[in-house]
Amino acid sequence: MNLTLHLTDNCNMDCSYCIREKCPKDMSEEVLYKACDLAFSKGTRAGLCFFGGEPLLKKDLIYKALDYCEKKSEETGIRFDCKMTTNGTLLDEEFLERAVKAHLGIGMSFDGKAQDVCRVFANGKPTSSVVEEKAKLLLKYMPEASALATIAPQAVPFYAESVRYLHELGFKHVSFVIAYGHKVNWTDSDLDLLREQLEKTAVYLKDLFIKKDRFYMSALDSKISDCIRGNNTAERCHLGVRQLPVTPSGELYPCTSFIGDKDYLLGNVFDGIDNKKVAELAKKSSTPETCKGCDLVKRCTNSCGCANRMNTGNENQVSPLQCTYERMLIEISDRLGEELYQTDPERFAKKYS
């Protein structure tokens, strides 16, 4: 099974849109090993995602988890996969060498040209120059590493420029999402500007496609891929079924935004998962009423309980922000998809199918 390990609640940065409360609480080795055992206890694969806070503040725990799980995988024959989401500021060559050996997938939170708008160090100093250098180091070791950008309203004017910048820096995979939750306040004019920026981004992506430059930008490209494959990305997010976050104290919750809400506590690494509560939660999960008559119901993220909860406080209720944004994304990605398909159908199929 797949677990997201919150190795620490501490972070060396202070991002304006971050919904996690920082505190100096770290995972103990006991919890770590119990969590590893739990990951190997169900299914034919064990997956760990190192998360935080900032997980690289606890490199020692990551090394221990990798050593332990690699050995366990050898002994049991159960496949082990791992990944990490990090702000990148503490990456170094020693860690990256170990990460490459472990096939650790790294996603670097990096807002591109908007980095200093929302993402500053805990002491208030800008992070962009440090993160840019670390991104180059990361790409030297892992050319396929991803950049993960979170766009808050004040970062929207930098959106298209950030896509270009991250591409030029060498990233072949970038993920752009908009910031949700109580720390951000989106307005209609922000969304109008976002539309303009997405249109500019689509032009840039078309240009790269024509130049045969391999680049994948998840906000738009994933909508095209999912449309062809008939996938609905959000359907993967079955709360508490496919993956569980583990808090530093070993508690299990359905998803990151539910951490701390005891009504959603699904067990702990010592006593295991409360399957009855997981089943109850699954039973409660439903398509939002407001989305049932919409033709895009299978193409948008209305079923993402985590996003819904962040925006409306209810995992089964979608927000006007999300609806507006998703419709915008689908419209622009469909138009981009048609243009690319007309340009070169065979290469289009290779990229997206």
Partner: protein
């Protein structure tokens, strides 16, 4: 901003076109539509996405296939 369900949405032509190409290849069994072979890059049920937006590595056999295709420039590494 508001919640407004969309009606009369038309599935884009690119999606219809690709699906038709794959179906045609499956029916004839020929290799003429080269890109139809990339259908095996679709993740299986067991290839689960963890939180944090980073794709996990797919099953070994699929990963080898995908890596060879990526190396050859045939597909992009967009398994997520």
């Amino acid at each position: 901003m508001k919640i407004s369900p969309l009606k009369d949405y038309k599935k884009p032509l690119y999606a219809i076109g690709i699906a038709a190409a794959i179906a045609a290849t499956a029916l004839t069994g020929c290799g003429e539509v080269e890109y139809a072979g990339t259908a095996d890059t679709k993740p299986t049920e067991s290839q689960v996405e963890l939180s944090g937006n980073v794709a996990m590595a797919p099953e070994e056999t699929t990963r080898e296939t995908v890596n060879s295709l990526i190396t050859a420039g045939i597909v992009s590494n967009n398994i997520d």
